[in-house]
């Protein structure tokens, strides 16, 4: 990787360990992980389910489930988030970093209107009045491609289509103009055609708002089209990391090669879906 001055680095994760409490005792799901995300850069984390990629995302955001504990360092603009008091940490969420969840249907409140849910952080972080917050919410929805005429502000989540819900989710995540956007499998719950629209929207917003994006996905092919750098995770370990172009064109790890082969391409109709034998790589790690 090219040398960067520290000012240029927005997020620097060093030796991140995450332990989850299970009936059998604590289990480590992320092992001394390093990540670097440059300002206005894009970083992808790719891995199968259970690889620890979502845990990493929630640890950075500070919204780990109560049964999980993160240790190591998560440096954001040089400050270690893990050593901040809970209150200060919480105040950064929404303001400094936004989060796009995988399942907008359950991630949005069932009995509050979209407008009410969007207004809460605007009033908290930016000190807007109720009226200002509503106007700003309408602008934000417009920005993500939902014109005010749709009446979405007064709608409930179950009345919206899947793509619309995710657009709302994105509008909420960028509402306080954060510097970092974390998108955890933002398109997994959507149809293929809508997937592309949403990812293009994210790319557009990144340009327009100067965001840095951490994109979590199980699909290396997809991540390769939208990120500068990528980290490939397997069972909580980083198998490979580097510029996306290099990782995709000349993967060092056999596991990455496997992922590349497994990713479906248009027009391809293989007789059998490729299967990756994880155990081959897991052994190498341990």
């Amino acid at each position: 990787m090219t040398t960067n001055s520290t000012d240029d680095i927005l997020l620097d994760v060093r030796g991140l360990d995450i332990d989850v409490l299970t009936p059998e005792g604590p289990r480590r799901v992320v092992h001394s992980l390093d990540l670097t995300l440059r300002r206005r850069g894009t970083l992808g984390i790719v891995g199968e389910s259970g690889s620890g990629k979502s845990m990493t995302a929630t640890a950075v955001m500070g919204i780990l489930p109560e049964t999980a504990i993160a240790s190591g360092q998560v440096l954001y603009r040089g400050r270690d988030l893990l050593s901040l008091p809970a209150r200060e940490r919480r105040a950064m969420a929404g303001r400094e970093m936004g989060f796009v969840f995988q399942e907008p249907m359950s991630a949005l409140h069932p009995t509050k209107t979209i407008g009410a849910q969007m207004a809460a952080p605007l009033r908290l972080h930016l000190g807007l009045t109720r009226r200002q917050a509503r106007a700003r919410s309408a602008e934000l929805l417009d920005l993500v491609g939902i014109p005010p005429s749709r009446g979405v502000l007064d709608a409930y989540v179950h009345q919206l289509s899947g793509g619309m819900r995710q657009r709302v989710m994105i509008a909420m995540s960028i509402s306080c103009e954060p510097d970092l956007l974390i998108a955890d499998e933002p398109t997994t719950a959507l149809d293929a055609t809508i997937q592309k629209q949403i990812l293009d929207l994210l790319a557009e917003l990144r340009e327009e708002l100067g965001l840095s994006v951490l994109l979590i996905s199980h699909d290396l092919g997809l991540v390769s089209r939208y990120t500068d750098d990528v980290v490939v995770m397997l069972d909580g370990h980083a198998m490979e990391s580097g510029p996306t172009d290099r990782v995709v064109s000349a993967p060092e790890s056999g596991y990455t090669r496997g992922l590349l082969e497994a990713s479906p391409r248009l027009g391809d109709s293989p007789d059998r879906l490729p299967v990756i034998d994880k155990s081959r790589f897991t052994k190498a790690v341990q």
């Binding site: 969420a93 929404g94 969840f101 409140h109 179950h158």
Partner: protein
């Protein structure tokens, strides 16, 4: 909305029909002459014959059933055998008392139960939660009439604060009314609060782990705000439906409680009817209780639909 109400109404028909048909069938299946059984050993043959005609027991079964259906449809329950008054009149005046008892108790329960449940679900203090859960378990296991008796013993007999039994309509003497109603409502309301407590506590515990809470955290909202305006509303919206179910158990409790305090309500009337096997009166009581129950449930459904946008949407379709 109207078709939704109609649909709910259809679904509630068995609640009225099943107990009524059950009573109809059982009376006629009882061994021996029902008229003779009802009137007891001292009845004369003429009295029995009269009652047979009055109850229509001489006709063939299918005709009895059709007649009965026609009478029910006209709300015609005939006359009480022992109280010698129209059943409809007796039932309506008693229902007024029971209605007040149930309504006040339910309000009391709604005031206490959900609030405590929300506190127990949200608190970080394990001791507080445990204490409240044990308390609610005792409340659920406690027979209403025993609590009523204990209250009578404490407030009525030992402390002599309140009268132990009787009733004065509110229109006659509001102060006496409150004095008579205080203990019955307190007994019923406290125990129903225990049930509502358990529902709302579980609702809060469930809601706390929903993904929308993670979203609110990711927006940077403080925990207090999340609990108050995200967790509680989601947890308490389904409570309206529970109130409908609660009403069934409460009516049961009310029937027994009325007899502890000699309140002239449906429970007391039904007990009199049962003791004397006053068949038309039993029929009238059950019919009224069932209809009232259906109407309240319908009301609850409508309220639930207005509170919860998901049900509202369903109702529109």
């Amino acid at each position: 909305m109207l078709s939704y109400v109609f649909k709910r109404l259809l679904a509630l028909i068995p609640t009225v029909a099943v107990p009524m048909v059950l009573l109809f069938v059982l009376l006629r299946l009882t061994p021996g002459d029902p008229a003779a059984v009802i009137l007891g050993e001292n009845a004369t043959a003429t009295e029995i014959a009269e009652l047979r005609t009055e109850l229509g027991l001489d006709a063939p079964m299918w005709q009895q059933f059709l007649d009965w259906l026609a009478r029910m449809a006209r709300f015609d329950f005939g006359e009480s055998i022992f109280l010698h008054a129209p059943v409809a009149e007796l039932v309506l005046s008693a229902a007024l008392v029971t209605g007040q008892l149930a309504l006040i108790s339910m309000l009391l329960a709604l005031l206490i139960g959900p609030a405590l449940g929300a506190v127990a679900g949200a608190t970080r203090s394990r001791a507080l939660d445990r204490t409240m859960v044990v308390g609610s378990a005792v409340g659920v296991a406690m027979p209403t009439f025993w609590l009523a008796i204990l209250m009578v013993m404490l407030f009525g007999v030992t402390l002599q604060w309140l009268p132990v039994a009787g009733f004065t309509p509110i229109t006659e003497d509001p102060v006496q009314y409150v004095r008579y109603m205080a203990l019955p409502c307190l007994a019923l309301g406290t125990l129903e609060a225990a049930t509502l407590f358990r529902y709302s506590r579980n609702g809060v515990l469930d809601a706390k782990h929903q993904p929308f809470v993670a979203t609110a955290r990711a927006q940077g909202l403080p925990e207090r705000t999340i609990t108050r305006s995200y967790v509680f509303p989601a947890a308490l919206a389904p409570l309206v439906t529970v109130v409908g179910l609660s009403l069934a158990s409460m009516l049961g409790g009310a029937v027994v409680t009325e007899n502890v305090f000699s309140l002239p309500g449906l429970g007391k009337l039904l007990l009199t009817a049962v003791e004397r096997r006053d068949y038309p009166l039993i029929e009238g009581c059950i019919f009224f209780i069932a209809v009232a129950f259906v109407l309240v449930n319908l009301l609850v459904d409508v309220v639930a639909a207005t509170l919860d946008p998901r049900i509202r949407l369903e109702a529109k379709e």
